[in-house]
Amino acid sequence: MTDTAFSGPRASKSRGLVASMLRTYASAFRRPRGMLGLAILSVIVLAGLASPWLWPGGVDQQSRDSLLGMSLAHPFGTDQLGRDIFMRTIYAAKISLGISVVAVPIGMVLGTLMGLSGMISPRLGTICVSLFDLLLGFPGLILAILIVLMVGTGWLSLVLTISLLSIPQFGRLARGAFLSEQAREYVQAATLLNISKTKIMLRHILPNTLDPLVVQLGLVLINGVFIEAAISLVGLGIQPPTPSLGTLLNSGIRYIYQQPLYAAGPTVLLLLLALSFNLMADALNAATGRDAQGDR
């Protein structure tokens, strides 16, 4: 009951709603976890972006030296066509991450809107919840196969699958937050002042539900990378010779006895990415947790 345990935006100067939220999120990356996570991700992304300059020959440059072991020239060795595995892994990470970064925000926006749709009509809200359950219950791989049947293999089917699968991840969170916020008195007070539903949703409910969604974004992004890997692994996603973490794993498994490092490269990168995103999500969680509703 004491008022001493205050939390919340610390500065008392009035700032824009958006600015103050962005500041909170940015503060996550000043925490050790956030910094470490961001550092790992930056190294991977920068290496991916710089790959054309680092390896001017391109990712598909072949050589006679197939299935070589570790060396200074080829840190992870070479594959069956004599291509540098390290370079291909870095490049693959860029592609896999890129697909997730495109697909997951689509799912986030759709999921959040669907989760909050109960504001417009309670019935629409219930329908959306059923859709979430349907998507969650549907096996991911079968969904991927259906989409590949419709649009063919390639990045588009991956983006569609990952977006669809991430909709309920955000939707259910947004729905839960919406339900609890809707019952709060400041939302009712706004309703009683005849403030429009859209405005209540955007100004009152959304900002107060966004924190868990942003934390979730970190976790779903890495989930997207894993989905990409899983689908490409079975050959439904990115097609060789373009490297993605999934296609690399696919060939890596085939040469697991001759060239153990082949599968290890993408695996280590997947783990690093997972670590980095989890660290960042953790830091965001801590940063927004201190910003929790009011003071209780």
Partner: protein, 614 residues
């Protein structure tokens, strides 16, 4: 007092880490009092006064960051401040028992209450068989009928009052000579509160248990306590027997607190005496007397030096004040200013006929809802500028009714006429009219403001809905802030920077932006400290009298309602059982339930009763 005290606190101090490195700030300082066997000591104070922290420190269950920095806690001569956690484990429950505010949070929902009382006995070394026997005796002792059968029931099968009895039974299980009760009746209805208080008195008289009763409610203290300790800002400001302190308070704070408590008798039309400002912040305590900034008698000395606790005449009645007794002329100067009362107009602003609200929930796709009438045929009217008080215990439907009036609950049947217009269908046009005519003030000032918006943003948003021309908005917001007793510099702050009372003021200012003619106040003061309660009641009365707004004032506390209302309606189980002029309801209640409510108000008749105990 001839009996040796069971518990004695000597100069207890508790500190928390302050913002600066290695520095600690005292949140409790210099607390000394005694609890003798067979006496109920009331520890009273507002939120943040340190009363709960004191109680938690006694059993060493204060939060980890808080350390006992000074003094002794002597229980039967042993210093608990230095006891190990192991020793404390043996004392808790066996020697010092605790009763908390919320019985539902204390009881395990998965176990029968018989099992839970057994458990309390078994951990302190009773055999399982003996434990059950004792359990049944305990249940009988705390007044639970059919102990044998009820021991097999689960907590959810008990009402709130019965649950608190079970908690008390657990507390008494090991014949603990000392009972710490932290707000044991705050979560309960008045009629239940009375039963629990009677039970505590009964236990004191029959078993000779010593009870430390922590409460914010002076009425409760008046009702049951033998001794009183008043805390303010982490210090004891006054202590003595209940008869001494309540009849002739020596500290201005106690005097003001007693005055600002709404009572079932006494002056009605006048402003309520209130204490200006709010409780101090533990991080920035005044240099001199902690009450000085709010004290009507404050002098230069008070600002400079903190006073010591001193006795005058009677050695047991201590007060921490530079003055020996409060100067009542100064105290009352702030108090009873008569208020010019606006005449009640002839027009009816709200007319409700036979209203029914069905809150029955659908229990499945094909299973139809079982009707549950939260409001079952209510009729009432409120005149222009009139105040109707709506009283009832929790679950009686008073909130469901008020929410239905503004369209937050669906109406099943009946009519609502607002300012002559039938709005019962709640069509969008009617809703718009409704929301410009009637506004709603919420109970919880902490939840009714969006934590992410500054007060200015909240006010601007509300302003855009009102009739004020947009170029006048800023000026009008400033006017409203002044009107509710806040200043313009508060506008750019966030809700968490305000106290409960201030937030409630903001809530009131927000409703005024649309210039309503009817304000529906749903328990607007029940979440506030007593000294702040009076301020908000006065503010509501001022709004009514200056702006001619009508009020529907909903509360569970008859005394609070009485102060403000012209007429009172008593609600029970979805129906209004009695309705009439305020004075008539209090002097000549017709319905049994009204009589029960009136007789359950704590305090009042208690002061005299104390004399023979002292």
């Amino acid at each position: 007092m001839t009996v040796a005290p069971l518990l004695e606190l000597r100069d207890l101090g508790v500190s928390i880490p302050s913002g600066r490195k290695n520095a600690r700030a005292d949140i409790i300082e210099d607390v000394s009092f005694e609890v003798a066997p067979g006496r109920i000591v009331g520890l009273i104070g507002e939120s943040g006064s340190g009363k709960s922290m004191t109680a938690k420190s006694i059993i060493r269950m204060q939060p980890e960051a808080c350390q006992i920095s000074a003094g002794q806690i002597l229980f039967r001569g042993k210093d608990l401040a230095k006891a190990s956690q192991d020793e404390m484990q043996h004392l808790r429950g066996a020697e010092i028992a605790m009763v908390f505010q919320d019985p539902l949070a204390v009881l395990n929902p998965m176990k029968t209450i018989g099992w839970q009382i057994d458990e309390a006995l078994i951990v302190h070394g009773t055999s399982r068989k003996a434990a059950r026997e004792k359990t049944l005796k305990l249940l009988e002792l705390v007044g639970i009928p059919d102990p044998k059968e009820r021991a097999e029931s689960y907590p959810h099968q008990f009402s709130g009052g019965m649950r608190q009895r079970v908690v008390i039974a657990i507390a008494l299980a090991n014949n603990a000579p000392l009972l710490l009760a932290d707000e044991p009746t705050t979560a309960l209805d008045v009629t239940i509160q009375k039963q629990i208080l009677d039970l505590l008195v009964d236990l004191r008289d029959r078993l000779g248990v010593a009870i430390l009763l922590i409460t914010h409610d002076i009425g409760v203290v008046e009702e049951v306590c033998d001794d009183v300790v008043v805390m303010y800002g982490g210090m004891i400001v006054e202590s003595g027997t209940a008869a001494q302190v309540l009849a002739a308070p020596r500290h201005p704070y106690t005097a003001a607190l007693l005055q600002s408590m709404p009572r079932p008798q006494g002056e009605r039309g006048a402003r309520m005496p209130s204490i200006k400002g709010g409780p101090p912040d533990a991080r920035s305590l005044p240099q001199g007397c902690r009450f000085e900034p709010r004290c009507p008698m404050a002098a230069e000395t008070c600002r400079q030096l903190p006073p010591m606790r001193a006795a005058e005449g009677n050695a047991l009645h201590l007060s921490r004040c530079w003055f020996e007794t409060p100067d009542m002329t100064k105290m009352t100067a702030v108090a009873a200013q008569p208020r010019p009362r606006r005449a009640i107009g002839k027009d009816t602003i709200l007319e409700v006929r036979d209203l029914k609200v069905n809150l029955g929930q659908r229990r499945g796709l094909l299973r139809p809802a079982r009707p549950f009438y939260a409001v079952n045929g209510v009729s009432l009217e409120i005149g222009e500028g009139e105040t109707l008080g709506l009283v009832g215990e929790s679950g009686c439907g008073k909130s469901s009714l008020s929410r239905a009036l503004v369209g937050l609950n669906p109406i099943e049947s009946g009519t609502i006429r607002l300012a002559g217009r039938d709005v019962s269908d709640m069509s969008s046009g009617n809703l718009k009219f409704l929301r410009h005519t009637a506004q709603y003030i919420f109970q919880d000032p902490y939840a009714s403001l969006n934590p992410r918006l500054t007060i200015r943003q909240t006010m601007q948003e509300a302003m855009a809905q009102g009739p004020t021309a947009s170029e006048r908005h800023d000026g009008r917001i400033n006017e409203l802030m002044e009107l509710v007793g806040l200043s313009v510099r508060h506008l750019d702050r966030y809700p968490h920077e305000f106290s409960g009372g201030q937030r409630q003021r903001i809530g009131i200012a927000r409703t005024l932006t649309v210039e309503p003619r009817l304000l529906i106040c749903d328990e607007p003061v029940s979440a506030l400290d007593i000294s702040v309660q009076a301020q908000i009641i006065n503010l509501l009365a001022d709004m009514r009298d200056e702006l001619g707004i009508s009020l529907l004032f909903i509360a569970h506390d008859l005394a609070v309602v009485r102060h403000l209302s012209d007429r009172i309606a008593v609600m029970r189980q979805g129906k209004i059982v009695e309705q009439g002029q305020t004075d008539q309801i209090f002097s000549d209640p017709k319905h049994d339930y009204t009589r029960l409510l009136l007789s359950s108000i704590p305090g009042g008749h208690a002061a005299q009763k104390k004399a023979h105990h002292a």
